[in-house]
């Protein structure tokens, strides 16, 4: 095995993740190559720096927090905003339904009435003879003298 091949296996070798037959080949190379042995030692030192560092443990009161959460009555856990969870979800689904229906309606309307075209509504036609009397304001100068 060449040094360039060993380079690719150094990490797995140090972490003991190499296949047994590959491990033997790397061992044989390391026995005769100082440079690759140095690479392995350097990688081992990096990993050791982490493995030798402190291990932190949770504070004693953490279990109490979990126990409190677990012991909470199911009815309490099943509530959201002070209401039963199922009711909140049903209301949410109802609102969502309305929003979706309205947005689908508006999309359909937009398709039917493309933007840019103004739709004018014609005024209702007057009947030729109507019973209603209409008064118009006429300027005084236009009135004939009787």
């Amino acid at each position: 095995m060449k040094c360039s091949e060993i380079e690719n296996h150094v990490t797995d070798y140090v972490l003991q993740e190499l296949a047994p037959e590959l491990q033997i080949q790397v061992n044989e190379h390391l026995a005769i190559c100082d440079k690759c042995r140095g690479e392995v030692q350097h990688t081992e030192a990096v990993i050791a720096a982490f493995r030798d560092s402190a291990r932190f443990r949770p504070a004693p009161d953490v279990y109490g927090r979990i126990a409190e959460q677990v012991r909470a009555p199911k009815s309490e856990r099943a509530r959201l905003f002070g209401l039963p969870r199922s009711l909140v979800f049903a209301f949410g689904a109802f609102l969502l339904g309305i929003v979706i229906t309205r947005s689908v309606d508006s999309i359909i309307m937009n398709i039917r009435e493309p933007s840019g075209i103004e739709v004018r509504q014609e005024p209702p036609r007057k009947a030729p003879f109507s019973d209603t009397v209409e008064f118009y304001s006429v300027p005084a100068k236009n009135l004939a003298r009787i």
Binding site: T11, D12, L15, E17, H42, T43, V46, I47, A49, F50, R51, S53, A54, R55, F56, R57, P58, A59, V62, Y63, R65, I66, Q69, V70
Partner: protein
């Protein structure tokens, strides 16, 4: 740290599901230490790590898992997902870790300096590499175990590990 086997963990979980609360306490005693250390190394914050532990064991208590499954991988997956949620909201900062470390390790001593240096190196790694590195270095998981935790291919775990370790080596050389 209490030593345990996968069979023991499965047995305790089964007993808990049958109503034995002491079994849950035993599960916590066996798994919480390493899980908490994992979260502290990932997040660099004791308080956030405690929140993740509470959330993870809370989910375990309310879960209905198959006892034959890999319970340890499940717990680490839940904790990792919870940590990812925190990563999205907040960038990992060393300042927080330093303040909390001062209260536990003798101030400015060699232990303090070493711990701070290790955490600084971890913080420099992107989250996806940090997770693999911490699971491998501290939890001594195999590549396959890590792939089970992260639900990703074995090749992805290997490449993240190689990249992470290469970066760590480079950073340590720079410091030296």
């Amino acid at each position: 740290m209490i030593e345990y086997t996968a069979a023991e963990i499965s047995g305790l979980y089964k007993r808990y599901k049958q109503g034995d609360e002491k079994a849950f306490e035993a599960l916590y005693a066996r798994l919480s230490g390493s899980l908490f250390n994992y979260c502290v190394r990932l997040l660099g914050d004791w308080h956030l790590a405690e929140d993740v532990i509470v959330e993870t064991f809370g989910k375990l208590a309310n879960s209905n898992l198959d006892e034959r499954g890999n319970l340890k991988a499940w717990l680490y997956r839940v904790a990792t997902n919870a940590s990812y949620t925190i990563f999205r909201k907040k960038k990992t900062e060393l300042k927080c870790f330093e303040q909390q470390l001062r209260s536990t390790v003798s101030n400015q001593g060699p232990d303090f300096v070493r711990e701070l240096r290790v955490q600084r190196l971890l913080t420099e790694l992107p989250e996806y590499q940090r997770i693999v590195v911490v699971l491998k270095f501290y939890e001594r998981m195999t590549y396959q175990d890590i792939a089970d935790v992260l639900c990703c291919p074995l090749g992805t775990v290997k490449s993240r590990m190689h990249q992470g370790l290469r970066k760590l080596r480079g950073m340590m050389e720079d410091v030296e």
